[in-house]
């Protein structure tokens, strides 16, 4: 490979590293999670309030009491589902960021201008950056596909 081709590829790697890093930074959904958690806290508060109001009624209306119990049960279920959704999404986001981190690190290493001529960044070097089984399995699948 000629020197200018290698230099061009390093420039491309450097640009791609910046682009993936920008994409990774946009993955931050802290505001969404904050809103989800505030919603679940509000639901908790509402169900507690409904229970408190009920206990303060000297002679509760049976129809309203049944509806209150149904509403509280529904609130509890929605709160549980929102908690689970937020927790899953937080973990998925974390995982996606880790994959993006790995790509950025690999591209940055490939873009290093001081790398001796002819030095390459191997698939083994890339594999050293992985932090999950999913990444390794994907890597192995690609390697198998390319070797056939």
């Amino acid at each position: 490979m000629s020197g200018s081709t290698e230099a061009n590829e390093r420039v491309v790697c450097a640009i791609l590293a910046e682009q993936v890093a920008a994409l990774r930074d946009r993955m931050d959904a802290a505001n969404t999670f904050d809103l989800l958690w505030r919603t679940t806290a509000l639901l908790s508060w509402l169900s507690g309030l409904l229970n408190d109001l009920s206990t303060q009624q000297p002679s509760p209306n049976p129809v309203l009491e049944r509806e209150r119990a149904e509403a509280v049960a529904e609130i509890v279920e929605i709160r549980r589902a929102l908690d689970e959704l937020a927790f899953f999404q937080a973990q998925r986001q974390d995982f996606a960021k880790q994959i993006a981190d790995c790509v950025v690190t690999a591209l940055e290493r490939m873009a290093i201008a001081e790398m001796p001529p002819g030095t390459s960044f191997s698939s083994g070097d890339l594999a050293e950056l992985y932090v999950s089984k999913d990444q390794r399995e994907l890597h192995d699948a690609v390697m198998r596909r390319l070797s056939t």
Partner: protein, 123 residues
């Protein structure tokens, strides 16, 4: 109230774990890496359970576990590794360092709480 120490370099994960654990009635202390975790312990935080990620800057999960096991107050504190890593080599490494258990992400809130509850039933 039982204190859970949560260590993860993802702010979203720390907030999410804190929300789940506080919702279940636990007190939560947090750190963004193993070094912050050790500082918490040496500053006197006495967690009933420690939840730690593996891949963190400055001091990773394995390094944290090794150092935490040298501190008298956390020599026998349950340490659960919560990570995307599910590979045997890393798991063995964590166990050798002194980890008590392992949860692979994505974990369910109930799965997490069930493990924590088993380890500190006296909440």
């Amino acid at each position: 109230m039982a204190v859970i120490l949560v260590l993860d370099d993802s702010a979203t994960m720390v907030m999410s774990l804190t929300h789940i654990l506080k919702g279940a009635g636990y007190d939560v202390e947090t750190g963004m890496n193993g070094r912050e975790g050790i500082t918490k312990l040496t500053d006197g935080v006495k967690p009933s359970v420690i939840l730690t990620d593996l891949n963190m800057p400055e001091l990773d999960g394995i390094g944290f576990i090794k150092e935490a096991r040298k501190i008298a107050s956390t020599k026998f504190t349950p340490i659960i590794v919560l990570t995307t890593e599910s590979g045997g080599r890393k798991r063995d490494e964590a166990r050798a360092a002194g980890a008590s258990g392992w949860l692979t992400k994505p974990a369910e809130p109930n799965q997490l709480l069930s493990v924590v509850k088993q380890l500190c039933p006296s909440k």
